[in-house]
C-alpha cells in the first residue's frame, strides 16, 4: 500500500507521517492518564514496550495475524496498567511519578530476555504497519477520545485532576476511575507500541528507555494537558522537531533541551492548554448576535 503512495509522496515524508500518527496514539493514551486525570506517569514507554514486544513475538514466533497481535499487545499493556494502578494510585502525585519511573525501568531490565533477543533486540518483525492503517486508526481513536472526554466519565477524570476531594464529594469513586484512566491510557500505549514494532522491523529495550517516556510526556505537556488537539499538535511538533533539527545535527538535542525550558517559562500550560473550542467559537461569532451559547466545551 505504501509503495503505491510513494508515487505521490516522498517516502521520507510518508515515514514521518506514520511516526507522527503512532506518536499521536501514544500521546493520547498518556494524555488520558496525565493530561486529563492528572496522574503523573513518567513510565509510559513501559506500556509501549509491552505492546511492542508482545505483538512482535506473537507475529514472529506464533504466526499470529497482525490485527490480533496488535490487540493482544494492547491488552497486555492494559492489564499491566490496571495491575500497576491498583496499589499505586493511592499515592500522591510525585510519589506516583516515581513509581511509574521505577516500573518502566524494571520492565526495560526484564526485556533483556531470551525470546526477545536480549539487549541486541528483536529483528525481522513483519512490516505490517502502513500509512493508511495508521491514518484510519488515528481518526478513530481521536474520535473515540473526544466522545469519552466529553462524557460523564471524561468529566469525572478532569474533576479528579482539578480537585480530588471535591470529586469524591460528588460521588466519584476516584480510585476506580484512576485505575480506569490508567488502563485505557496504557491500552493506547500498547497499541502504539505494537504499531511501532511492526513498522520499525526491529526493536530493542533501549528504544523504550526513560527518555522515551519523557518525550511522550513532553508531547502532552507541550500541547496542553488534557486537550486532544493540543496533544495532536504536541506529538506532531515533537516528532518533526528532531527531524527538522537534523540540519543542526549534533546540536539538535541542545536545542531540544533549551526549547523545553523556554517553553515552560513562557507557556507553562502548553500551547493549547488554556484554549477551549467554546472560546474560539465565541470569538468568531462575536460579529453575529449570539443565541446559541449552549454547546458544551
Amino acid at each position: 500500500m505504501d509503495a503505491y503512495l510513494t508515487q505521490y509522496i516522498d517516502p521520507y515524508y510518508l515515514r514521518l507521517l506514520v511516526l507522527i500518527g503512532i506518536n499521536i496514539i501514544l500521546a493520547l493514551g498518556l494524555n488520558i492518564i496525565t493530561g486529563v486525570t492528572g496522574q503523573l506517569s513518567m513510565g509510559h514507554a513501559g506500556f509501549m514496550s509491552l505492546g511492542a514486544y508482545t505483538s512482535a513475538i506473537l507475529s514472529m514466533q506464533f504466526a499470529c495475524p497482525f490485527w490480533l497481535a496488535l490487540l493482544a499487545g494492547a491488552f497486555v499493556a492494559a492489564l499491566f496498567g490496571c495491575l500497576i494502578g491498583i496499589p499505586t494510585l493511592r499515592l500522591e502525585g510525585d510519589y506516583l511519578a516515581m513509581v511509574t519511573i521505577g516500573f518502566a525501568e524494571i520492565i526495560r531490565v526484564f526485556l533483556n530476555f531470551e525470546p526477545g533477543g536480549k539487549a541486541v533486540g528483536l529483528a525481522g518483525i513483519p512490516q505490517n504497519t502502513n500509512f493508511v492503517l495508521v491514518l484510519v486508526m488515528v481518526i478513530v481513536i481521536v474520535y473515540l477520545n473526544s466522545k469519552l472526554l466529553n462524557s460523564r466519565i471524561g468529566k469525572a477524570w478532569y474533576s479528579i485532576r482539578e480537585n480530588e476531594i471535591a470529586a469524591e464529594a460528588c460521588g466519584v469513586d476516584t480510585t476506580r476511575l484512576k485505575v480506569m484512566a490508567f488502563t485505557v491510557g496504557s491500552f493506547l500505549g500498547g497499541l502504539g507500541g505494537g504499531l511501532y514494532a511492526h513498522y520499525m522491523f526491529f526493536i530493542r529495550p533501549q528504544d523504550f528507555a526513560f527518555m522515551k517516556s519523557i518525550e511522550l510526556l513532553n508531547m502532552v505537556v507541550l500541547g496542553g494537558m488534557g486537550s486532544i488537539p493540543g496533544t495532536i499538535i504536541g506529538a506532531t511538533i515533537l516528532t518533526l522537531a528532531p527531524e527538522l533539527l537534523r540540519v543542526v545535527a549534533e546540536y539538535r538535542m541542545l536545542f531540544y533541551g533549551a526549547l523545553l525550558v523556554i517553553l515552560m517559562i513562557f507557556r507553562p500550560n502548553g500551547l493549547l492548554g488554556d484554549v477551549r473550542v467554546y472560546d474560539i467559537r465565541k470569538r468568531w461569532g462575536r460579529k453575529e448576535v449570539q443565541a446559541n451559547a449552549d454547546t458544551n466545551p
Binding site: I101, F210, I214, G257, L260, I265, P268, N269
Partner: protein
C-alpha cells in the same frame, strides 16, 4: 568476602548518598524533583578530570575546585530554569524544565568532551590493605572517610548555623519563612549550591573509583540516587544518607549473590516496594492533607 562486598556497597552507597542529598534538600524546600541534578554530578566528574589531566592539578585541589564550580552551575540552573517558574506554574512544568536542562547539559558535555568514556589517572587505585577478614583498598577508605566528613559537615551546618536554620525553616514552610524575613531566594540558591557541591564530590570520587567518566553517567546515577532519596524519605537529610548507603549495599550484594544483569532493577524494585508499604520513606513525615 561478605565484609568486602559490604565495604564495596558502602563505597558505592556513599556516592549515591552524596547525590541523593542534593535531591532531598531541593525537594524539601521547593517540592521540585531536580532532574538536572544528575548532570551536575557528571559535570563535577568532568571538571575534576579536566583539572587533573589537562592542568595537572593536585587531586585534592581538583576536587575542591570541582565542587566550587558545580556550586556555580547549580545556582545558575536554579536561576535560569526554575526561579522564573516558581509560584507561577504547576509542578509539572518545573519538572519538564528540569528535564530540558538535563538534556541540554548532557548534550553540551557530549559535544565538548566527546562521548567516549574517560578515566582519571590512577592515583590511589593500586594500594590495598589486608585486614585479615577483608581486603580493602586505600581508595575505598579515602572515599568513605571523605564522604563521611562531607555529610557530617552538612549536618553541622544545617543544625548549627544561621543559614542552616533558615534552610530548615524554609523546608517546613516556605511562605512563613518569607514572611518572617528570611531571604528565601538566597536560601534556595544556597541549597542548590550545597547540593551541587556534594554531587560534584560524588562525581569525582566515582570517576576515580570506577575509572569511568562519560557524559551520560548522570542519567542512571541520578535516577538511582533519587530512588535512594525517596526510600530514605524525600525531604529528610539523614534519610537521603541512609537511603543512599542502603541502596549501594543492596545493589552490590544483589550483584554478588544474585545476578548482575538485573542490578538496575534492584534499585527500582526497592523503590516501588518502599513506596507501596511506606510512601513517606523510612524517615519521611507523613503528610496529612488539610481538607
Amino acid at each position: 568476602m561478605f565484609l568486602e562486598q559490604l565495604l564495596n556497597g558502602l563505597t558505592l552507597g556513599s556516592t549515591y548518598a552524596l547525590i541523593a542529598l542534593g535531591y532531598t534538600m531541593v525537594y524539601g524546600i521547593i517540592q521540585l524533583i531536580n532532574f538536572a541534578h544528575g548532570e551536575v554530578y557528571m559535570i563535577g566528574a568532568f571538571v575534576g578530570l579536566f583539572l587533573v589531566t589537562v592542568l595537572g592539578v593536585n587531586i585534592l585541589v581538583a576536587l575542591v575546585l570541582a565542587m566550587l564550580s558545580c556550586m556555580v552551575v547549580g545556582m545558575l540552573i536554579e536561576r535560569v530554569a526554575y526561579r522564573p517558574l516558581r509560584g507561577k506554574s504547576t509542578r509539572l512544568s518545573a519538572l519538564i524544565s528540569a528535564i530540558g536542562v538535563s538534556i541540554f547539559l548532557q548534550t553540551l558535555l557530549a559535544l565538548l568532551a566527546g562521548t567516549n568514556t574517560r578515566s582519571y589517572p590512577s592515583i590511589f587505585n593500586s594500594q590495598t590493605f589486608d585486614l585479615g577478614f577483608a581486603e580493602v583498598s586505600l581508595l575505598q577508605i579515602i572515599i568513605l572517610v571523605f564522604a563521611a566528613l562531607l555529610m557530617i559537615g552538612l549536618q553541622i551546618m544545617i543544625h548549627k548555623t544561621r543559614i542552616g536554620k533558615a534552610m530548615r525553616a524554609s523546608s517546613q514552610d516556605l511562605e512563613a519563612s518569607y514572611l518572617m524575613g528570611i531571604n528565601v531566594n538566597r536560601v534556595i540558591s544556597f541549597t542548590f549550591a550545597i547540593g551541587s557541591a556534594l554531587a560534584a564530590a560524588g562525581g569525582v570520587m566515582v570517576g576515580i573509583y570506577y575509572n569511568a567518566v562519560w557524559p551520560y553517567m548522570g542519567m542512571m546515577a541520578g535516577l538511582k540516587a533519587f530512588a535512594a532519596a525517596v526510600m530514605g524519605g524525600i525531604g529528610s537529610i539523614p534519610g537521603a544518607m541512609i537511603g543512599g548507603l542502603t541502596l549501594g549495599v543492596l545493589e552490590i550484594m544483589g550483584v554478588a549473590y544474585l545476578t548482575s544483569s538485573y542490578k538496575d532493577a534492584i534499585a527500582f524494585g526497592m523503590l516501588i516496594l518502599v513506596l507501596l508499604i511506606r510512601p513517606q520513606g523510612l524517615l519521611g513525615k507523613k503528610i496529612t492533607k488539610k481538607v
